[in-house]
């Protein structure tokens, strides 16, 4: 009951709070430029028209405020509640994923959304939370029998928990989210530990399975991966994004072209420059210095989160904090890697920066949970 008493606030992690606020605020500054339209009037959720030259920035600001409220909810929910309802969360997410395969709304050729009369729900977003919580529970309930690292037989059940939603999401198709889900689950397992022999066997098995998996990919997904290897081969099709994005990033040089001076973005060379490719706007206008600044902010965020994980007294809380860290980390690396041509274009947003409400809300909720873990680190004892 007294999950938020005075002692709890004593362990409020100011570092985490600092980076949690600073990253999206910096994001708003970037979005103001990325979504700039001098003539634009912004229609806020069909309610009011506001004279503001950047729709993306203004709406993201609103999402941020809502997100901060959602974060407080994440803080207020006691950690053991997540423990108790982890399977329930996972189950609901799984049902929704199956439902979306049947009656989902098709957007841009993939079936990712459930139309809930008025607003759209993306069940894969739910599953991210469900998987982190469930894996934390499964792994903390059954730590390695030898007390150090898992053997193969112990990984079958946790593996199943990861693979089922991955397959469902990959079939939508939403390769990026499936991939990040896998990374989070595997990351949590690896954190606890896996025997070297087992690890080797799994890696070999995955490589062996890679070919049939490749065959299962959709044409456009195959093409995106191929284009990654040689983007110039298809400058107008799949390579267009990567080529233009690399020009944008590269032309930023050391100090950038200046705020709102990025020709690549202001001239609309880059589709999706407020969402998945927002990093290229930053790179073009703020240069190498600006990129390092953002990477630094993210590093600060990760360090704060990992520190919270390391200070927990129980494995569940620890894995919970670590899981969210991996989730944000994977998104950051995949997104930036994609924008600068190190990874295939998979359509993953840059956490806390890319324009978009659902991503903002789910990330801030996760950060709220981590903050909650920090605050209850001495108090929490699952029964």
């Amino acid at each position: 009951m007294t999950s938020l008493d005075k002692r709890v606030f004593a362990h409020f992690d100011w570092g985490l709070a600092f980076f949690t606020l600073l990253v999206p605020l910096f994001g708003l500054v970037v979005l103001f430029s990325a979504g700039y339209d001098a003539e634009g009037t912004v229609n806020l959720f069909g309610l009011v028209n506001v004279n503001f030259p950047s729709a993306a920035c203004l709406k993201q600001g609103v999402y941020l405020m809502v997100g901060l409220i959602v974060m407080c909810i994440g803080i207020a929910i006691p950690t053991h509640t997540f423990y108790r309802y982890s399977f329930f969360l996972y189950g609901v997410a799984l049902v929704l994923l199956v439902a979306v395969a049947g009656v989902g709304v098709v957007v841009n050729g993939s079936r990712r959304w459930l139309d809930l009369g008025g607003f759209n729900l993306q069940p894969s977003e739910f599953m991210k939370l469900g998987l982190i919580v469930t894996m934390a529970r499964v792994l903390s309930k059954r730590p390695p029998r030898d007390g150090r690292s898992y053997r193969f037989s112990e990984l079958l059940v946790p593996g199943l928990f990861i693979v089922i939603p991955m397959v469902l999401i990959a079939r939508q198709p939403d390769l990026g989210t499936a991939l990040s889900l896998g990374i989070v689950g595997v990351g949590q397992i690896l954190f606890v530990g896996v025997r070297r022999k087992t690890l080797l066997a799994i890696v070999i098995a995955v490589l062996a399975l890679a070919y049939p998996a490749w065959e299962m990919l959709h044409d456009y997904q195959q093409r995106r991966i191929l284009v990654l290897l040689d983007p110039e081969s298809d400058p107008k099709g799949s390579g267009y994004h990567i080529t233009q994005s690399k020009i944008a990033v590269g032309s930023g040089e050391l100090f950038g072209k200046g705020y709102r001076q990025g020709t690549q973005t202001q001239l609309e060379f880059l589709p999706e420059h407020t969402t998945d490719f927002v990093f290229s706007v930053l790179a073009e206008e703020w240069g190498f210095v600006g990129c390092l600044f953002l990477l630094g902010l993210f590093f600060g965020l990760f360090v704060s989160m990992l520190r919270i994980a390391s200070r927990t007294r129980d494995l569940f809380s620890c894995l919970l904090a670590f899981g969210f860290t991996v989730q944000i980390f994977a998104h950051v690396v995949i997104n930036i890697g994609m924008v600068i041509g190190l990874m295939p274009v998979v359509g993953i947003p840059l956490p806390l920066i890319s324009y978009g409400g659902s991503s903002m809300l789910s990330i801030l909720f996760g950060l709220g949970i981590v903050q909650g873990v920090s605050m209850r680190r001495l108090q929490y004892r699952p029964s």
Partner: protein, 628 residues
């Protein structure tokens, strides 16, 4: 629980490893950024500078407007706009001045237009001149070297095939205004977009507009196109089929030439508006180019605003046309029987005041039929007094919907006014004026005094009398069809019923027979609406000559001439109302107009003028062509 202890797991070590991994990954990203931005930065900088995208918006062809038979009334034609890309001109002002010199336009006007669009990005074309002539295009092309950044674009413009035909119904399109841009209704529109501003063009803007296409053209630093990045095709707007019949509309329009007034024809069974003409008219095409101050002044001339749709916005006392509805009230309320006779000495005395009949010598003894046929005022003064103003109001307003807009949906409709004791008590401030004096009922009984209606209300009211007592809602659109033939909206064959009147069919019959008498009886005031007898189509109707009171000037203006009629008398297919402002006698001025429309409706050719055979069995004296 033991499982939550973690004695053997070295969490600290693990987080350190994680941090290290994290740092390593970010370091790789930073390394790559270093490679792109620092080592190869200048290469990409060069490429970005030669990499310019020009977004060209492709305006969609607007949907067509067709008549009820699918005949095209308004279509699109290619037109030339002169745009200017500021970025491509080393000295924009100088370029614009050069352009002004070539076109003969004041340079300041053009510069002002440029500043108005100043918020638009440097590379985006800004509109300078709309719908210029081919000659001018040729001149501009010839002087290209003086005009860097000036481009001529081909865009669809409205082509009004029949000129000003049905101008008030069709309406016009014009560039979206600053006020409209701020309105949430117009979200998604951009400065320079052309939208419907009046009539059907405005009302069906959502369907007619279509979807803007866009083309991203890659240009080099010199502004020359070197490729195309991506493009979206424009989606043409949907076509709107009106209920209006082009032939009938032409006749109605022509009949009003040189006059001020309105003609409206409606199918009394469905509410379909078959023709809707108002004069004076405007030519919608004047709005395709810039509208000069002189043109505006001419349009909104105080003497007769050409933009006023007199069918729905003009309010006039209905005059004797209103007697039909007073008669309906009187018979239904039983204050008079059809056979009761009154003596008309040419006037009636009310107290000391003398109310005149329009025929000063009097009609002698008249019953209801004769009173309507000859439009005897004294008969209706008496009947009106028996009813009292509130019962007249009850029938005219509550049943026949006079004083209420019809909801046709194009433009603002006037409601007109049916007076009553309640209205007077509410409308006037002075207690003396609040009271209804019985003497005021007399003019109301013959459609004079404070009472006003629109021509469309007259048609709606008369339709209810002749279609068996159904008040229908007028409508002007039959269907909306997308450019690829999909039906978006279709009005059903059955009318939208506003009200079914609970009136005795015998009373309606009596009124209809009387109205046929107005046109066919030798004493009738409306015989000039009759169709040549050989065609066997009998017409019913009622004339009206409404006095125009102008108390301020003291000068008596010419009366408004009314005729409202229908045909065929036994099974009405069309109801028509004609009004000529200050036209004089309804029977002489308005009835022939209605006759023209009816003749066109039934496909009866105009008789050659010299052979204008007598329409009636016996030519009637001219005196009797007057009423009121």
């Amino acid at each position: 629980m033991a499982s939550f202890e973690r004695p053997s797991l070295n969490v600290n070590m693990r987080t350190w490893v994680a941090m290290g991994f994290c740092a390593a990954c970010l370091f790789v990203l930073a390394l790559r950024l270093w490679h792109l931005q620092i080592i190869n930065g200048h290469v990409f900088r060069d490429r970005s500078e030669n990499n310019r995208l020009r977004m060209v918006y492709v305006p969609p062809p607007r949907g067509l407007i067709l008549d009820r038979n699918g005949e095209v009334l308004v279509r699109n034609r290619p037109s030339f706009n002169v745009d200017f890309v500021t970025e491509d001109s080393p000295n924009p002002e100088q370029t614009v001045r050069a352009l002004a010199e070539i076109t003969g336009q004041p340079a300041d006007d053009l510069l002002e237009k440029l500043t108005r669009q100043g918020k638009r990005r440097m590379y985006e074309p800004k509109l300078l001149l709309r719908d210029v002539s081919r000659d001018l295009v040729a001149k501009i092309a010839a002087q290209r070297y003086r005009l860097p950044g000036v481009i001529v674009s081909v865009v669809p413009a409205r082509d009004y095939i029949h000129g000003d035909l049905a101008a008030h119904a069709i309406g016009y399109i014009r560039e979206i205004s600053g006020e409209q841009l701020k309105n949430p209704l117009y979200a998604g529109y951009r400065m320079g977009d052309v939208i419907g501003q009046y009539g059907i063009e405005a009302r069906y803007e959502r369907y007619l507009q279509g979807e803007r296409g866009s083309q991203a053209v890659i240009v080099n630093a010199a502004g020359n196109k070197i490729g195309e990045a991506y493009s979206h095709l424009a989606l043409p707007g949907s076509d709107v089929l009106l209920t209006i019949d082009r032939r009938l509309q032409e006749v109605a329009d022509r009949a009003l030439t040189g006059k001020k007034g309105a003609v409206v024809a409606m199918d009394p069974n469905t509410g379909d508006i078959l023709a809707m003409a108002a004069a004076p008219r405007f030519a919608p095409s004047i709005f395709t180019t810039e509208v000069s101050k002189e043109t505006w002044a001419d349009l909104v001339d105080a003497k007769g605003n050409k933009l006023t749709n007199r069918v729905t916005q003009g309010v006039y006392p209905p005059g004797s046309v209103f007697k039909i509805f007073v008669a309906a009230a009187a018979l239904s309320e039983g204050v008079v029987t059809p056979h009761e006779r009154f003596f008309c000495p040419g006037y009636t005395l009310f107290g000391t005041r003398k109310f005149r009949c329009h025929k000063h010598s009097g009609h002698c003894s008249v019953d209801l039929f004769e009173a309507i046929v000859q439009s005897c005022d004294v008969y209706f003064y008496t009947v009106g007094q028996r009813l009292g103003v509130d019962r007249i109001y009850q029938y005219a307003h509550d049943l026949f919907e006079f004083g209420e807009p019809t909801g046709l949906g194009i433009g603002d409709e006037s409601s007109g006014l049916i007076p009553s004791t309640a209205w007077k008590a509410k409308y006037f401030r002075n207690p003396e004026d609040k009271k209804w004096y019985p003497g005021e009922t007399l003019p109301v009984s013959i459609g004079q005094g404070a009472i006003t209606t629109t021509p469309l209300q007259i048609v709606r009211g008369l339709s209810a009398v002749v279609n068996g007592g159904v008040v229908v809602k007028p409508r002007i659109v039959r269907k909306v069809v997308t450019s690829d033939g999909r039906l978006l909206e279709e009005t059903p064959a059955t009318p939208e019923v506003v009200r079914k009147l609970d009136l005795d069919p015998e009373i309606l019959d009596k009124l209809k027979r009387s109205m046929v008498g107005v046109v066919e009886d030798k004493r009738g005031t409306g015989h000039r609406a009759a169709l040549p007898e050989v065609h066997g189509i009998s017409v019913g109707g009622k004339t009206g000559t409404a006095q125009v009171a102008s108390r301020e000037s003291g000068i008596k203006d010419e009366d408004h001439a009314w005729f409202a009629g229908y045909a065929p008398a036994d099974n009405p297919k069309i109801v028509v109302a004609a009004l000529v402002e200050n036209g004089g006698h309804g029977g002489a001025e308005a009835a022939p107009i209605a006759q023209d429309v009816l003749a066109a409706f039934f496909g009866i050719p105009d008789p050659p003028p010299e052979e204008a055979a007598p329409r009636k069995k016996k030519p009637t004296p001219v005196v009797e062509a007057s009423d009121d």
